[in-house]
Symmetry: C2
Subunit: 123 residues, 2 copies
């Protein structure tokens, strides 16, 4: 059984942006923490709904028809198949809930941020 996780303490050990780090696992889903910094890539996930909860900073989830603006203590679920682009301004600390199978860059062409689930860091 894993121990408890303190979000603020965990973020002190995560330096690199756009590098989701696994901090919890339950029911085939991962809890991940990530620093978001600037604009990510447009992408979607074919089979995975994805939750973004802002812990600190500000995060815009751009959708093709609108932008969802998130402040600390706010979350949003991007349903599977929906194109989205996270844009953090400034540097933001974000908690993600999503299936363990989720590829961080979704259906976008592989780029410098792409990490397969088995390549993710764990705290």
């Amino acid at each position: 059984m894993s121990g408890k996780v303190n979000l603020a303490e965990s973020f002190t050990r995560i330096e690199k942006p756009w590098s989701p780090t696994i901090v919890g696992e339950l029911n085939g889903q991962y809890v991940k923490l990530a620093r978001f910094d600037g604009a990510y890539v447009w992408h979607s996930h074919q089979a995975e709904d994805e939750l973004f909860l802002v812990v600190s900073g500000r995060l815009n989830i751009e959708l093709r028809d609108r932008t969802v603006e998130l402040s600390p203590g706010e979350f949003f679920v991007v349903p599977r198949g929906v194109e989205h682009r996270p844009v953090a301004q400034p540097n933001a600390e974000v908690l993600l809930f999503e299936p363990a199978s989720t590829l961080n860059t979704g259906n976008a062409p592989a780029n410098e941020w792409t990490r397969r689930p088995d390549q993710l860091d764990r705290l």
Copy 2:
């Protein structure tokens, strides 16, 4: 597609303790908010791992062999099959993440808190 959820604002609309309220749904899992107040009942969930994230207040998760003490910004995952008793002191605001099938009082005899998944409130 649901809108964004502000945790603090949502808790202003939840008054009754021990009454999990659905605020999000993804991948067959629910995000629930609940006020915890005092001692709950010992129980376990046969097929569901359960995440507790404290938003405000303090929550002890008593296990048979130890107690996990949670402050705001801390979470703990109780694996399926593990007996636990939440004890909040004082009133605490808690986010839960668990399969939609989860019965709030688990394997304990039905009591005044018991709500089947289809009986839960939604915000």
